[in-house]
Symmetry: C2
């Protein structure tokens, strides 16, 4: 998606060889016209699948996933990190490691919101080592829901996430695939 790549080149900040900051348009301040085009692009790519729900993970996945769900006219479910004390009903849960923050966290989903009748499109802002996406897939397994595809806004293609997902024969579609981060330089695949 050319507009997204231009935003990354113009406003992105490659802190080092692994961290790309896109706080000014994707995950702190959000450019709504870009989000709308992202929603359109994902919805068009996955329109032939019979998607019943869009799934993402709080926090940064919500804005792009919201736009996809709006276009596909299906509910959005976001997985929660940690478990708040007022959510003590039946939950699907799984532990995930974040390499970016070097912490473990728990993903959870109220069992009411995913079932074996659901055909799910998982959307996230970043794909790096694939830990978050694999965690979401474990939640979907617990729900016996069908994962129809994975849509990623920015893929760090030099990390192993894509290959781990492709190994499971999941259709993965990324709007921008980054081959290399090197201080100021950002190279796309």
């Amino acid at each position: 998606m050319d507009k997204l790549k231009n935003y990354i080149l113009t406003y992105g900040n490659a802190k080092d060889t692994s961290v790309l900051k896109v706080d000014s348009f994707l995950n702190h301040q959000i450019d709504v016209t870009l989000m709308e085009e992202i929603g359109d692009d994902f919805a068009q790519y996955f329109q032939h699948k019979k998607i019943t729900k869009v799934l993402t993970i709080e926090t940064s996945g919500i804005a792009p996933a919201m736009m996809v769900a709006l276009k596909l006219k299906v509910p959005l479910v976001f997985l929660k990190k940690n478990v708040s004390k007022i959510h003590n009903q039946d939950l699907y849960t799984t532990k995930v490691h974040s390499f970016t923050k070097d912490i473990d966290y728990e993903l959870s989903c109220n069992a009411l919101f995913l079932s074996n009748e659901d055909h799910v499109l998982f959307i996230d802002d970043f794909l790096a080592n694939g830990e978050a996406c694999l965690g979401a897939m474990r939640i979907l397994d617990q729900a016996q829901a069908t994962l129809e595809g994975v849509g990623i806004v920015i893929e760090k293609s030099f990390q192993k996430g894509r290959s781990l997902i492709e190994e499971k024969n999941i259709d993965i579609y990324s709007l921008a695939r980054i081959q290399k981060l090197d201080g100021e330089a950002i190279e796309f695949l």
Copy 2:
């Protein structure tokens, strides 16, 4: 907003006299057509203000705030809870107490995304004791930005949040105002 009130009556769960769970359409699973109407309603109410940015707080504020920002065609900024280690630039920060979760947390915003030229509409999913909204107002004070209004999806009118905001002469508009929660019963103002 009648549709929202119907959703609250049909799908909401009054756990006790203070906690209302709306996980099935607002803050875990999200009904996108309801969100779109919420965005339209807020945008219409605040359209005469010269809003330059919509502001909310992660996580549950993002979906409704996103729809408002989309309608007003301005950027959305969401305040972060806690500070991640890859955000070490100039920050506005303030401490907030959550009565629901009985914890203190820190709200923060990259200083690049709010300035003294901004005219801000603050949107949140709930208003109860007003702690989160007052925290956002302290962040806006640090940025010397102008708060043009507060839009709340569900207001617990039996708690003190509204009066604390009105004391500051801020225009506050809530889509559903709840007068009383009592086990199963939910009464609107």
